[in-house]
């Protein structure tokens, strides 16, 4: 006893157990990061895999035997107690069992047989097969449909419905044709018609502006009304064409049979994509996987953002961040140069430096509040008064938009650039500056030809870190310009091409919106993980670049300093 006591005493005195605890803190932090990244990666990437569709025969709570087609989503365990508490059938409980396994199965066919996700208890499943001919239809509305295709009625020859072995090929052809027409329609709507509308709107505003100024320029007014008439005529032509395309689109119809033998008619125009996962080989599935991934990256969202892609959000994030870095880089670099190269190192500079450091610690939402009040309502409101009186009271810049979001985030990230640039400037030895001056260069020449090039990796690191920070910020954006669904991209083919006043979509806000504000969280969840993965990849990638750059910089100056 005495021996073990003394062992513990010396063991504790050596600090060994505490060192282990400290080590565990590091391990815990690292496993948390890795765990989060893995969680997002696994859940985000799994979403695009064309999983097999099972034909499941099971007994429902009302003791009916039912058949459904569905994709297995996850295995869950409920305790027997919970099961009974929530009114479960006691006969289903195995003797001595404490937990019961159940599957979450995505059965789709929304609007035909609710619900589109079901819990099925494993013990109640009597048969499970994967029939080759079952097909998954990704529809524009109402999510996926699952069923066996039986006939295809084409508009070309309605009297001769296609069925049998040629059906799948014919269907794919028909879907391809429909997609083609849809592309034409969106070209027409988004391009020509949108352009005409924009020009009409500009003419209307110009007219109103002339009237507001009580201008006597009747000639211009007449010109305007003439232009309006031509545009209206052009509009009518395009609209007729559009109606024709819609008619053409709305011709083919596919009949599928669900697992419980209900026949559903699906317009081919509503089908984006169809595949038969059970019949696909591993290679085909991989191809399908990457095609799904690509469509996620390149398509617009559908169904209140719970389906489809995230292209506008990627576009909005990138554009906002680009604009922001255009603003933040010169501002941050000049400020850092001032602090390090030009200002007298005294109390004032120390105060500024502390203040800059503090700005980095001010909560981002405060910047959002400032941006909304100062940029949007104050600056934007006054800009509207000065330059856009003709469209008032509808605000142009006096409402949250792209430019204000970029400015707000530039303000938020400027300390990052300043601190990083200053660090780079500090590393440059005094002798370099003195050498340059001794050779007769002015201070400005020294700065531009010697100092800034040497500091450029540091500046770049700062800008990358700023971009990474800005790309992940959501709270201030919610106040100054982000929307859940933007009807148009901030860049398009109509004058002035880059629309700084438009609201935009953002990956981070998309996650918040789809994950927390959408009506069908269960259906949207995989998409949220995928979006999160995209954002994390972007930000971690940027940060790794910055870290690598910084490492290189350190090695570089080790040479200069010695």
């Amino acid at each position: 006893m005495a021996k073990s006591n003394s062992f513990f005493r010396s063991w504790f005195a050596s600090g060994e157990p505490w060192i282990w605890m400290n080590a565990a803190a590091v391990g815990l932090s690292i496993s948390a990061v890795v765990g989060i990244l893995l969680l997002i990666a696994v859940k985000g990437l799994a979403h695009f895999w064309p999983s097999d569709v099972d034909l499941i025969t099971y007994t429902t709570e009302t003791a009916q035997v039912q058949q459904v087609y569905g994709e297995f989503v996850e295995l869950d365990q409920v305790s027997v107690e919970q099961f009974l508490e929530s009114g479960g059938n006691p006969e289903w409980v195995q003797p001595n069992a404490e937990i019961m396994d159940r599957w979450l199965v995505k059965t789709g066919n929304r609007r035909i047989s609710a619900p589109d996700f079901r819990w099925i208890f494993v013990d109640q499943i009597s048969a499970r097969t994967t029939p080759d001919d079952v097909m998954v239809l990704e529809r524009i509305e109402w999510g996926n449909a699952y069923g066996v295709p039986t006939t295809l009625v084409t508009g070309a020859d309605p009297s001769a419905p296609i069925s049998g072995p040629t059906l799948v090929a014919a269907l794919n052809q028909s879907i391809a044709a429909a997609n083609d027409i849809r592309d034409q329609i969106s070209d027409l709507e988004g391009g020509i018609l949108n352009n005409i509308n924009n020009r009409l709107e500009r003419l209307r505003l110009e007219e109103r502006g002339l009237l507001l100024k009580e201008s006597e320029d009747t000639e211009r007014l007449q010109e305007i009304s003439a232009e309006q008439a031509t545009l209206a005529a052009e509009y009518a032509v395009s609209e007729r064409k559009l109606r024709g395309l819609y008619r053409e689109l709305d011709q083919d119809e596919l009949v599928i049979t669900t697992a419980d033998d209900i026949e559903i008619n699906v317009r081919v125009a509503d089908i984006l994509h169809a595949w038969q996962p059970n019949a696909m080989s591993g290679l085909q599935k991989t191809g399908q996987y990457f095609s799904n991934l690509w469509r996620f990256l390149s398509e617009d969202p559908r169904e209140a953002n719970t389906e489809g892609g995230v292209f506008p959000a990627i576009f909005g994030t990138v554009l906002m961040v680009l604009l922001m870095s255009l603003i933040v880089t010169p501002f941050g670099v000049i400020a850092a140069v001032y602090l390090r190269e030009y200002a007298k190192q005294g109390v004032l500079v120390r105060i500024i430096r502390i203040a800059v450091n503090n700005l980095a610690g001010v909560p981002s939402i405060v910047y959002g509040v400032f941006g909304l009040g100062f940029f949007v309502y104050f600056l934007g409101g006054n800009l509207d008064q000065l330059f856009f009186p003709e469209s008032l009271p509808a605000p142009t810049f006096g409402t949250p938009g792209l430019v204000w979001a970029s400015l707000t985030l530039a303000l938020l990230t400027v300390p990052v650039v300043i601190v990083s640039t200053e660090e780079g400037l500090t590393r440059i030895p005094r002798s370099v500056r003195e050498g340059s001056m001794a050779l007769g260069a002015t201070q400005a020449e020294t700065l531009f030809k010697v100092i800034l090039p040497m500091a450029s990796p540091a500046i770049l690191t700062g800008v990358i870190l700023a971009v990474a920070r800005a790309a992940g910020e959501v709270a201030p954006l919610m106040l100054v310009g982000v929307v859940k669904l933007a009807p148009t991209l901030p860049i398009d083919g109509s004058f002035p091409y880059l629309h700084l006043d438009r609201k935009f979509m953002h990956l981070g806000f998309h996650i918040y919106d789809v994950g927390f504000q959408s009506p069908n969280v269960e259906a949207a969840r995989p998409l949220v993980y995928a979006t999160a993965l995209l954002l994390v990849t972007l930000i971690v990638g940027l940060n790794l670049t910055a870290i690598t750059l910084r490492g290189r910089l350190e090695r570089l100056y080790r040479g200069v300093e010695s």
């Binding site: 400290n22 565990a24 404490e98 030009y342 502390i354 909560p363 400032f370």
Partner: protein, 728 residues
């Protein structure tokens, strides 16, 4: 430099480019200072108006045609003044010039005129033959000859013919959507008329009539909220509250006296919303009596008391807010607001005792008409009467509640809603979230920092530091989403497992360390700096085991259902998104911040101190505790401060991982609402320049100043520390 130009050694171009650079750079420096001050100044500028005092100023006196006034009012936009007089004539005047703009003669001898509550443009007129007529005003703006012209119009919402009412002494009318209720009295008998499914432009349908006798000698009547009850008040302040809905179940709810300390009641009025009565007495007190329903039935309690210089003889209420103007015997005005308990402003107006007075719908103009030919207007500068230091931070007794409380509830569907702007629950929520986050983060971050800086092998440190930086870069929206959608359901379902981790993990580590010490030192010494790596799989396994052990704990300690146990035994409610989730997730967001600053501080401790200590025979652990930590403690302190600054201002995590309910409860299983999340939710909806908007800016200013102070403190501590290291 000038010399250089003169001697021609520096070309003009180079000289100027040098100068220009100097200016631009100087400007850039100034811009940084400018940006910081602008943020602060702008927030302050938006907040400042709520601190400005209210004022009353005489605006315009003008003579008008002689008539005996019964009622005055101001149009919605404050441009026109309406006077209703006894001969049934409605005169309209321009509020800026006092010029008459229209007059209508109804051809009735009117004895009483009142606004129909809660409208601002419909009036009930009672004529000498006890008939009621309803009249609405409408103002039409046109630009016919290039100038703006306002034309007042009269409309009869129901019928042009007055409606016979029987014997009437006083009355009150309330019009809500398609229901109009008129309460009138003759002595102690109260007649109630309910008109249902009414429509503007059509005659009133037949009324459902019922009468009830009051126990008091009625002198004024006020219909309560949604016509649910009726206040009958006698001249001496006796009150009878009668429930009048449903209309076939009329019942007395309350009776009592409104007098306080045996003072004589001089005036009674009902505030907007009709949840409270203001009672003035001859001792100069004005008491707010609030009605609320408790388990003992309907009750009235004095909520707060104002003291004014001279006893008030009457009170004029604001039509859209809960404020009111007290008029004393000298005709002087005092502006008061109940929610904030503020006496806002007073003005020696010297109005005549028989003047009729009204406050405009936008509460910026007071108009008085005296018998027979004078109209006076007064400007009211009173944008934010509901805000005071005590109403923002203290307990406030709101209408409809039994007692004063802290509450944040900024808006509601009702127009007569009393906004509750107490910042205390939000400040509490902010600190609660930060507290739980720090409890989780500080030990892990600091212990991790100590290990990384002091024990870890350099090769491992080279990749641990960047990994932690990556952790810092994880967008909080992702952490919040994982907390709210992934972790919260897991914790809810496996609460006992999660809680058991906090015990199982240290115990497992301890056992492992014990086991490790039994290995021959030859083996263990080789892994000295790699404990962090060795222990990681152990952590994963232990957490996995803890999840399996969860049900066992649940059976042993929590009676099979931990959530029910917490609820029944400890009285703790369980929300799915709660402080535990926020603590863990926000902790993860804060760990890297604290970690990297603390790590720097420990790492920068001069090595000769460590070597000295070791040379004197101290073990590495003793050196760490007695020398290194002591030296680095200011740095660790500043790391915690900066971490706290981050936790206090974090928005997305709190927004997504809590229920955002403004509770005042430290319970770890319930959520909270923080300043930052509150701003993010409410600011986009807040009307610009309203009290709500300015208070949200105030919340941002509070956050700004709090984090600025924390960070400055941390920075100063760090700079001192650096100087000390330098001198060591």
């Amino acid at each position: 430099m000038d010399d250089l130009v003169q001697t021609g050694r520096l070309s003009r171009k180079r000289y100027w480019s040098n100068k220009a650079t100097q200016w631009v750079v100087g400007l850039g420096g100034a811009a940084v200072i400018g940006a910081i001050t602008t943020i602060f100044a702008y927030l302050l500028w938006v907040v400042a108006p709520i601190l400005l005092p209210a004022s009353i100023d005489s605006h315009l006196d003008f003579a008008v045609v002689e008539r005996q006034p019964l009622l005055v009012d101001v149009s919605e936009n404050g441009e026109a003044i309406l006077r209703i007089s006894a001969k049934g004539i409605l005169d309209f005047y321009d509020a800026e010039s006092g010029q008459p703009i229209a007059a209508y003669n109804l051809g009735l001898n009117i004895k009483r005129a009142q606004r129909v509550y809660p409208t601002v443009d419909t009036y009930a007129l009672l004529d000498e033959e006890n008939r009621l007529l309803f009249v609405s005003t409408q103002y039409i703006v046109d630009f016919d000859d290039g100038t703006r012209r306002l034309t007042p119009k009269l409309e009869f919402p129901f019928s042009k013919t007055p409606q016979a009412m029987g014997n009437i002494e006083s009355f009150d009318a309330q019009w809500l959507d398609d229901e109009l209720v008129i309460a009138s009295n003759a002595g102690a008998t109260i007649n109630l008329r309910y008109f249902n499914k009414i429509e503007t432009g059509y005659p009133l349908p037949k009324a459902f009539e019922v009468s009830v006798s009051s126990v008091v000698d009625v002198s004024s009547l006020f219909l309560g909220p949604r016509n649910q009850w009726l206040y009958a008040v006698s001249a001496s302040g006796d009150l009878d509250v009668i429930g009048i809905k449903p209309k076939n179940k009329i019942a007395r709810l309350y009776q009592g006296s409104l007098a306080t300390n045996d003072n004589e009641v001089t005036a009674v009025t009902a505030l907007l919303g009709r949840y409270s009565l203001m009672v003035a007495d001859n001792a100069g007190f004005i008491t707010q009596w609030g009605i609320f329903v408790s388990k003992d039935g309907t009750q009235l309690e004095p909520m707060r008391q104002f003291e004014v210089e001279r006893p008030s003889v009457r009170m004029i209420t604001e039509p859209r807010r809960k404020g009111f103007m007290a008029v004393d015997g000298e005709g002087d005005l005092t502006l008061l607001y109940p929610t904030s308990g503020r006496v806002l402003a007073d003005f020696a107006a010297g109005l005549s005792p028989d003047a009729v007075i009204a406050i405009s719908p936008r509460s910026n103009l007071l108009v008085s008409a005296e018998n027979p030919s004078l109209i006076q207007t007064f400007h009211l500068e009173n944008e934010h009467p509901e805000i005071s230091l005590s109403s923002l931070w203290g307990k406030v007794w709101y209408e409809g509640y039994e007692e004063p409380l802290y509450s944040w509830q900024s808006s509601s569907a009702d127009n007569d809603f009393e906004p509750k702007f107490s910042l205390t629950p939000l400040a509490f929520g902010t600190l609660k979230a930060a507290f739980y986050a720090l409890i989780f983060a500080v030990p892990i971050a600091i212990m991790g920092a100590i290990y990384t800086a002091y024990f870890m092998a350099p090769a491992m440190r080279a990749w641990v530091k960047p990994s932690i930086e990556i952790m810092a870069a994880l967008p909080t929206v992702i952490l919040g989403f994982i907390g709210g959608l992934w972790l919260a359901p897991i914790i809810e379902e496996k609460l006992s497992s999660v809680l058991s981790i906090f015990f199982v993990l240290p115990a497992g580590l301890f056992l492992f360390a014990l086991l490790w010490s039994k290995f021959p030192e030859k083996v263990t010494a080789r892994f000295a700096g790699w404990y962090g790596l060795i222990v990681t799989p152990l952590i994963v396994i232990t957490i996995y085991l803890a999840f399996d052990a969860g049900p066992f704990f649940e059976e042993q300690f929590f009676g099979g259902d931990s959530r029910a146990w917490f609820r029944d035994v400890l009285g703790l409610n369980y929300d799915q998104r709660n402080a535990l989730v926020v603590g863990i997730v926000m902790g993860l967001a804060v760990i890297p911040t604290i970690f990297s600053i603390a790590e720097d501080a420990v790492y920068a401790v001069p090595t000769h101190l460590v070597r000295g200590s070791l040379a004197l025979g101290a073990t590495p652990w003793q050196t760490l505790v007695k020398v290194v930590l002591l030296t680095a403690s200011p740095g660790i302190f500043s790391a915690v401060m900066i971490g706290m600054g981050r936790a206090v201002g974090e928005t997305m995590i709190v927004l997504m991982a809590t229920g955002n309910t403004p509770l005042m409860d430290l319970n770890i299983f319930e959520g909270m609402r923080t300043f930052a999340a509150n701003i993010a939710v409410e600011l986009p909806e807040a009307e610009v320049d309203s009290s709500h908007y300015r208070i949200l800016f105030l919340a941002a200013l509070v956050l700004f100043m709090f984090t600025f102070a924390l960070n400055t403190l941390a920075e100063v501590v760090r700079q001192r520390l650096r100087a000390r290291y330098g001198s060591l």
